[in-house]
Symmetry: C2
Subunit: 944 residues, 2 copies
């Protein structure tokens, strides 16, 4: 067997790896390889593979044997390519050390730049660049980073100041300076020493002068940062497995801060906010990369580079089109200009808003760069949310602006309209959002520590940073509304207030931000539906008036061409139902009847039923609901003309319907003319220790068949009446919480009997179905028995998740957070179906069910029905449909289409894998034949 | 295909069916066939098969085509054999119509006797027997039965009097008569008419004079009685499937009430109470069968028949030994003597006490009638309970009797000693037993309606009826202590009291009954352990002194020879553990540590732990428990020298440990020097909506690792210390409520780390295992992943049943009873493992677990571990062990042995089935060859 290779070199237009080796080399490493192979001007370097990371964590943070040797060899090649030497006092090579996981995790892990500088090599840098200020600035930046990242100087308390920042501030204050740029070489030199002293003072250790020690220290810290708190939280949010690990990229440094002919920038090959096909980016001259990303200085738009350095700008435009042709995808690139020479540092698929994702995907299909299938795979279903996100009422906004309530304008970093209370700290945002009012997280700039607060906020507003600042990137990815770089904000964290153009706003004040225009407005502003909603729902816009709608429509059409799953909706009101149809719903998958039990007269009748001692009394109470329920169902049947409507019989425990306030109890007792005590006793007798596992679902209908009877009658009578109006009615009656086939048998007998009575009395035939929820493990495990009594199954994955895990959703909050924080669970099983447990029961149940009833209709109506990953799982399990809330119907349609494409891709990959394996085998066979031939030649081969 | 046969004739020493056809013909029918074939004097008749019953219920209570014709043909044969004619006015054949299911259900279904009588045929009977009184007595009895059974005259309200009884009582009262026997022919004749009038008055229908109408009416009622409430309850209690159905047996009547040379009786081939090898029975001259069984007249012991009719007695003794040789089993026979001629009406395996079952089985092995395996299959594991049941302290009893507290003596119908409060009604017994004190159900006689009350009672005492009365039979089967036929009791139901030899006792008074001697004693009496317990536990008896112990020991030895399952016990005290070893336990399968958390100082430390805000505070609290837990474990390890001990880490939710009374809350706050409010807030924060699905099990250990750490330390330190004493220690640490492998991984890391520390500090090595409970569906479904972290699995079937069914054991009482009453569920899933749901997960989990760890140790520690059926399931699933409470260890051992035998029997049956199928196939093949040959002969065959 070949010796394992851990280190991959790239440079001089040739790399040891390639773009498809992301698993091994991480996204960044693979891309550097690919860019190098594409003959882009990439600074040379090498990548330490993710296998080393896995080894590192498996083997108590040690490295595999042979790694050191490989690193040394690769470093030699970099030295040769750059014609410099690592640690050389005259001509020192400096390197960057960066993380690079398989999936992008921007800003989550550690980076060290300018590595290789020490008291000797800094002299070499001075000599070589003739720029002592730059050299010392680089040196002090390096010590700062190294100190924070490798030597643990960063304070654990996030509110405490960074000790290096304090020294820097003191230095500026002492000398009356405002900006870092005003620091002299001497100041910087002093800072170097003061930084080192501070390290010694705080850690007891010397800053390492040996560049090799610096290198290994940084490599270890990057691997360590894979498990830091931010990275763990990020992975949980985006479902990235911990087992992937990160690669480490060591690359020759190039400098954008070597003077006015140097610079650095980031750019997108298309507009990441709108998707428009234009080169979009920002740069800063005489600056290093982190100055752009961190948003400390507000950068210039990329077009302005043409005036400053037309040669480089032209080269960039050429690279832009080369990249789009090569990757067939919008790219996000980082570049540095060092003394007039362009270096490409990174390219990757660019993050984008939902708007942009859809526009770019649809445009690229029209440009014949990609196929419809590719386009669908590039739109995360959740991004469709942005099409449905509210916008401000234009007329009201104009009025308000005339009234002088426009506070300022920033960058339109995350489209949509948000209105909420100002909050200045991420942790406060989480707390305040619990109060119910929406919040707008308002910061000078955001950092990875703020992620949880950003999640909790409706909108994000920052004073500094561009379109690629942390706030903008993360907000777009989360689909949050964001206005960034609004320089007019003067935020005073300490006093919890901000000044904006002469006005003062305090934490808790209302503010409105328009992420589509960048406007920041004082006070509350009404929001209204997006263009898509205006076209689809209120018809206030015509399809041809809205480009946004047309893109949406293309995506939906393409997804529908692909998908096999039907998409239904969960709705129990006629208006919900007709909205859902406009979103593409093909039926109702879950109509909860208990919502119809509340309200005025109804609840009184329900209570009368529950409080009665006798069947006759119960029947008397429940039958009062019959005409009302019949009307409810008739409304829904009319709205769903020709589409199936699944109606669930009563599910929640009876105590949910009873009064709990003293006065309501008394009123009820008076109404029924029974003693108050009796009502109270009944309340007590209905108390349950574990209501989730109590007397609910079909257990109610089995013990009180009159409830099921009334509901079946209401459904069938409504069906008959609506059918008489010439409307096509397809009722599906669903029995909840079945554990044993006999329960379903009992309930379906009630339904069938009532149905016959009703149809006889109307002299009509209704094609109704009877089926069941599969929401208990026993139902899935005995699905073959249950299928004999059912025409359809609908998985209730909410309850199934609770019972499979033995986990009450109401109580899990106490420890689930701890589970995420400690990597016990990676995802919230209530958000995405737990494939190994719940999914396994879905597989077993579906297979067993169809083993006795081949054409059994199978669907899902838990909240997972609107979760893209769960929808794809349902596709893989050969479900007939998913059902979700109306606003998630488009998302489910797209996910269902993507499921089909992903299946095709997996099949293709499998075939390719087979071909590869076959080819390998035939090579091996040939080799064996040769060996055999050699062997047959006699003993000559053995002599060697 | 052959035409389906529904009716099977038997008579004249030849039958159309045979003894092994129980499924088709029911137990009674098959036995009548077998007895006929054995050439016993059986009255002729025919059996309508159980398939007709199935058809009857499937097809809305109708009969298959052709049934009537077959019945008529069979009836003809009976007429021929008896030389009488059905409905003939001169020489009328009378028949009985009886149920007969596959399993015996004594008294549960309906029976009609003397069928065929009407105003005409009664004259024939008079002429033929020259006994008008007998003829009219038979006639009025027939109308009574037919009216109750077929025409619905029996009142639904069980406390209401039977209308026929009322008429009879009135008749006797009018004429000043005390016994039925004093009624004259004229009285009986009047009764016939009055009965008929009452039927007409109440039902509006005439009593049918047509014997064929009578016959079909009775057949239908017997089929209907399969679904009556009593039968359904009985089936549920004994796990008899509803789908089996009953057969109907129609048989020529013979009369035991044709005068003093006639009689009827029942007998056992051995003593059903003690198992002694002697002919044991009772008879009444000039009486019909129901007089004996109903216990209305107290019958004579069978030996006295010798004096009355020595010929018949000798014939009976011959039949007795013929039957035991043939059936190799103790038989329970019914016979009738009609005018000096013996007829055998029934033989079946006799019900017996646990004592008798074991004695008979062991004796029969010694007599070489059966093999050890057969013996084991004849002892229901639950019967062993009787060996462990208490007896009275002999000295105290003697004293009490000297003091004059012996009230009376009855029959020793159900061995053992019971002491409890008197209760006169079955329904009151159920209620009173809920109060906690034991109850003794005290009745004139019992009937099938009393079953639930009998179940709820500790003992049963009746005034009337013999050893084969309903009370005696049912009590023995239930393993209840019973004194029957205690004629001295004068019970007054109305006033709720009874007089016994001059003393008056009221409902609620204490009474003691000795079911081994028949003594009934006033007041409370101490009970003490059975002989087996005296030998095993307190050593107050030597093995050789106790025949009972020796039988027990044989059975246990034979079971141990067979079984593959190990049997462990659930125990958390050293004395429990050593008792369990004496019962044959081979280790502890579940040691609950939380029981050790209560009591004095301990609970304060636990509360301190729970109420602390910081890990340090929690650690401080919990560590106070360390020395105490260490001592607990050391005690258990010492008791279990050489046997494995499975210790479960903390399982229940923390709120179970907190104070709830105001004063305890205040005390705790003072002790910890924190505000009362804080304790209350913590109490509130620990409140859960569904505690069963809340923060408990390993979720505690994951969030508060210091708890697991303390417990692991206590276990390992105790192990080291005890091992130092030269004792063999095998600790198995069990993590509860695991849903995800990461939970177990986390907890086992804590245990392994602590174990290493402890073993290092003691400089010893302990062979400990770490494993998990499988008690959540997800654990079973992902058992392959979990097995990677576990050395053993132990199924916690209590929680698994709750989650698989979605059913809280605490709340299910509200509707489970309704489920049983309405045949939704047949058995209590918390008593016997639900094979299809929970059992399926046990299979999946075990297979998946062993797929990655072939030698994974698998056991069960839920309460099902002591349930015989569940133990057999564990055997079939290849478990390594079951664990149950100490007193159930012998039961589990026997069940485990029986599981092996049943498996062998099933294999044999399967092979026999295969051979039969192969033989059938070869016959079919031969036929086909013949057909082909015929075909080859040319067209000659076709001419026909």
């Amino acid at each position: 067997m070949a010796k394992k290779k851990y280190v991959y070199y790239f440079g001089d237009e040739k790399a040891e790896g390639a773009g498809e080796m992301k698993e091994l080399l991480g996204g960044k490493g693979a891309n550097l390889m690919e860019m190098t192979n594409l003959k882009l001007p990439v600074p040379p370097g090498f990548t330490i593979s993710t296998e080393v990371c896995t080894y590192y964590y498996d083997k108590k943070r040690t490295y595999p044997r042979g790694l050191e040797k490989e690193v040394n060899a690769a470093l030699k090649k970099v030295e040769k390519s750059m014609k410099m030497k690592f640690g050389d006092p005259k001509n020192p090579l400096l390197v960057s050390v960066r993380s690079g996981a398989r999936a992008s995790m921007p800003g989550m892990m550690d980076t060290v730049l300018n590595l290789g500088l020490n008291d000797e090599t800094v002299q070499g840098l001075i000599e070589k660049t003739d720029n002592p200020r730059f050299a010392y600035d680089s040196y002090r930046r390096f010590i700062h980073m190294y100190g924070d990242v490798v030597m643990g100087m960063k304070p654990e308390d996030k509110n405490a100041a960074d000790p290096f920042e304090e020294i820097l501030d003191r230095k500026k204050w002492t000398h009356g300076l405002k900006n870092d740029a005003e620091l002299t070489t001497e100041h910087l030199k002093e800072l170097v020493q003061e930084y080192k002293d501070e390290i010694k003072r705080r850690t007891g250790k010397d800053f390492p002068e040996d560049p090799m020690e610096q290198l290994w220290g940084s490599i270890g810290s990057v691997f360590d940062s894979w498990m830091n708190e931010r990275a763990v939280a990020y992975r949980r949010m985006y479902g990235i497995p911990q087992s992937w690990g990160t690669a480490v990229n060591v690359q020759a440094m190039v400098f954008g801060n070597m003077g006015e002919d140097s610079g650095t920038g980031v750019a997108f090959t298309r507009d990441p906010a709108t998707g428009e096909k234009r080169f979009y980016g920002e740069f800063l001259m005489n600056a290093q990369g982190e100055d752009v990303v961190a948003g400390v200085r507000t950068p210039l738009p990329i077009e302005e580079l043409e005036a400053i350095d037309p040669k480089v700008y032209k080269q960039l435009l050429q690279i832009r089109s080369k990249l789009e042709r090569h990757y067939r995808e919008m790219q996000d690139v980082e570049f540095t200009i060092q003394e007039g020479k362009l270096y490409m540092l990174q390219t990757r698929a660019g993050k984008r808003t939902g708007f942009a994702a859809i526009k770019i995907a649809v445009d690229m299909v029209e440009e014949r760069l990609i196929k419809k299938e590719d386009a669908l795979m590039r739109i995360e279903p959740e991004q469709l949310n942005q099409f449905l996100r509210p916008i401000f009422d234009l007329e009201q906004k104009r009025q308000v602006i005339e009234d002088g309530r426009l506070l300022a304008k920033g960058l339109n970093a995350g489209p949509g309209a948000a209105c909420g209370r100002i909050v200045f700290h991420a942790s406060d945002a989480v707390e305040m959002a619990k109060g119910g009012d929406p919040v707008i997280l308002t910061r000078v700039e955001t950092s990875p520590e703020d992620i949880k607060g950003m999640e909790a906020s409706d909108g994000i507003l920052t004073a500094r940073g561009g379109m690629t600042s942390h706030a903008a990137l993360v907000a777009r990815q989360m689909g949050k509304i964001c206005v960034a770089g609004c320089g007019a904000l003067d935020i005073n964290y300490r006093e919890g207030k901000m000044n904006v153009n002469g006005k003062t706003l305090f934490q808790g004040d209302w503010i409105s931000i328009d992420g589509t225009t960048g406007e920041v407005i004082e006070g509350k502003l009404d929001t209204r539906p997006s263009e898509v909603l205006q076209v689809l729902l209120d018809g206030s816009m015509k399809p041809e008036e809205s480009d946004v709608y047309q893109k949406y429509e293309s995506v939906m059409r393409w997804a529908d061409e692909q998908r096999k799953l039907r998409v239904r909706t969960n709705a129990d009101q006629p208006d919900q139902a007709s909205n859902a149809i406009k979103f593409g719903a093909e039926g109702i998958g879950l109509c909860r009847t208990e919502h119809m039990f509340f309200g005025g007269d109804r609840i009184t009748a329900v209570r009368e039923m529950i409080l009665s001692d006798t069947e006759a009394g119960r029947r008397n109470g429940i039958m009062k609901l019959l005409p009302m329920q019949r009307e409810d169902f008739a409304g829904i049947f009319r709205a769903m003309d020709g589409f199936p409507v699944t109606i669930r019989t009563l599910d929640p425990p009876l105590h949910e319907f009873l009064p709990h306030e003293e006065k309501d109890i008394t009123a009820m007792a008076e109404y029924m003319n029974i003693p108050v005590e009796k009502v109270k006793r009944r309340l007590e007798s209905l108390h349950e220790f574990n209501p989730m596992l109590g007397h609910r679902g079909c257990r109610l209908g089995v013990v009180y068949p009159e409830i099921t009877e009334m509901q079946a009658r209401a459904i069938l009578e409504a069906a008959c009446e609506v059918k008489n109006e010439g409307i096509n009615v397809l009722p599906e009656i669903m029995i909840p919480l079945v554990a044993h086939r006999n329960e379903l048998k009992h309930q379906r007998a009630v339904v069938d009997r009532v149905a016959k009575e009703v149809m006889d009395s109307y002299d009509m035939k209704i094609d109704y179905l009877v089926g069941t929820m599969i929401e208990l493990p026993r139902a899935a495990l005995t699905a073959d028995e249950i299928a004999e009594q059912a025409e359809f199954f609908s998985y209730g994955t909410n309850d199934l998740t609770q019972t499979v895990f033995g986990l009450s959703r109401d109580d899990a909050g106490n420890f689930l957070q701890h589970y995420y924080d400690h990597s016990i669970l990676e995802n919230d099983p209530f958000a995405t179906v737990d494939v190994d447990g719940v999914g396994e029961l879905m597989r077993i149940g579906t297979e067993k069910g169809r083993s006795v009833k081949r054409k059994l209709k199978v669907g899902i109506c838990g909240e997972h029905g609107g979760d893209p990953k769960s929808v794809e799982l349902c596709h893989r399990l050969n479900f007939d449909y998913v059902s979700c809330s109306p606003f998630r119907v488009p998302i489910a349609r797209l996910a269902a289409g993507r499921g089909v494409i992903r299946e095709k891709l997996a099949k293709k990959a499998e075939q390719a894998e087979k071909r590869r394996a076959a080819a390998k085998k035939s090579v091996a066979a040939r080799k064996k034949t040769q060996t055999t031939k050699r062997a047959k030649k006699g003993t000559s081969g053995r002599k060697k």
